[in-house]
Subunit: 243 residues, 2 copies
């Protein structure tokens, strides 16, 4: 059986009791290590879980064969930071298990897609989510998504690229620079978030041109351009206007 287990957003103790129960009975436990990062390192997780973790990089997860072969004959866990199905690769693994008759247990957990609720922006009013990659010279999709979302009043969430093995994380100022370089007006209200899911997430609201100058110390970071605001959302954002 393949146990696909979300392990949440910040540290080792963000795992659920159910997730921990499942890990305990697995003979192999893979940690997907390229789509996001925790503040805890591998050894913290191993200590808490009482298991050795195998790092699963992009190649191993996209290929999937090693994980599926293991799950076919024994309880195998794939740990995913955040919730389980943000990345299409993980949906693909689920589909392949179903195709190949491998039993699957899914254990959900917190995701940045709902942790952004801490900004006070209504979760029901977010539109298409896009990622801003490091290499973005020819990348238009975040701008297209933002224009489409804002046409119908929805909030746009941009997830920022990261390369955890190299400890490289795109920052909100870099994201703001990308958006402004693509002709998004510098006066557009934006909300920069860092370390959502941590005990003290950093949230700053202000024009993109000021996010460009702001300093966020936590990672990962994400940026929001709000759509049409309800007065309660405005009130909430006012609290974050530290710029």
């Amino acid at each position: 059986m393949l146990h696909m287990i979300g392990i949440g957003l910040w540290d080792a103790r963000d795992i659920t009791l159910k997730g921990l129960d499942a890990i305990k009975k697995c003979s192999k436990v893979y940690l997907e290590c390229y789509t996001s990062a925790l503040s805890s390192d591998k050894s913290d997780l191993e200590k808490l879980y009482g298991k050795r973790l195998l790092l699963a990089d992009r190649l191993l997860v996209e290929d999937g064969k090693e994980i599926l072969d293991s799950a076919r004959t024994s309880d195998t866990a794939l740990l995913v930071i955040g919730d389980v199905f943000a990345a299409t690769t993980h949906i693909d693994l689920l589909n392949r298990c179903r195709e190949q008759g491998i039993a699957v247990q899914v254990i959900h957990n917190a995701s940045v897609l709902t942790a952004v609720g801490e900004t006070g922006l209504e979760l029901y009013k977010f539109g298409k989510v896009t990622s801003i990659p490091f290499h973005n010279k020819d990348v238009k999709s975040p701008i297209d998504a933002y224009r489409a979302n804002s046409k119908i009043g929805l909030h746009s969430l941009f997830l920022l690229d990261l390369d955890p093995p190299k400890k490289r994380f795109m920052t909100n100022p870099e994201a703001a620079r990308y958006l402004i370089s693509r002709k998004v007006n510098g006066s557009t209200l934006a909300v920069g978030c860092a370390g959502l899911g941590s005990p003290s997430p950093q949230i700053m609201a202000g024009p993109l041109s000021m996010i460009l100058e702001a300093s966020f110390s936590l990672v990962p970071q994400c940026l929001i351009i709000p759509g049409k605001l309800h007065f309660m959302e405005e009130e909430a954002l006012d609290r974050y206007k530290v710029l």
Copy 2:
């Protein structure tokens, strides 16, 4: 301090270790009991948490005074099914804590908004989310949201009304009937979900007119009308076309 703690989607063991740590040190623990429901009942949670739970109904949470008064002087928890900030009332509580200088700890957990990833539909492509209320004779907002989302190719998620104290939950067939009565074409592809977050969620894909006849045994339920589908999403949905 107010500890706002998501407790996940299905049963008592969906709480995180961090959530449980926080509950253990609280002198008062409120369970918000009107926006969703678990399969575990209050006594299961009390047994696992080792604490007596105070039920917090809509009046108590919207008024907020009792909870904030307690949090001002002692560690107080508000447990929310799913993640913490799906309801505006909970954002309002957070804002009031910040206004009144009451410290807040937020502990996130799984939400139906990302558990819908199990359908194989990409989470990044969901648009505005709306609720279909029991009394919907004059309710247009779900239809407006669906039309706007589909104009830009996004998936529409409809959350279905529920009244946990009365064990009353709107079903996918009822939601399909509402949509069809509002001139959404019966041939429109829809995906009905029930018990997302449970060990065996029920997911069925097919035209709305067939969802109308389908039977789902788990609750809560939610309905999706997909937008523009990627071939991988189509493949995933094919697996659920049991109608």
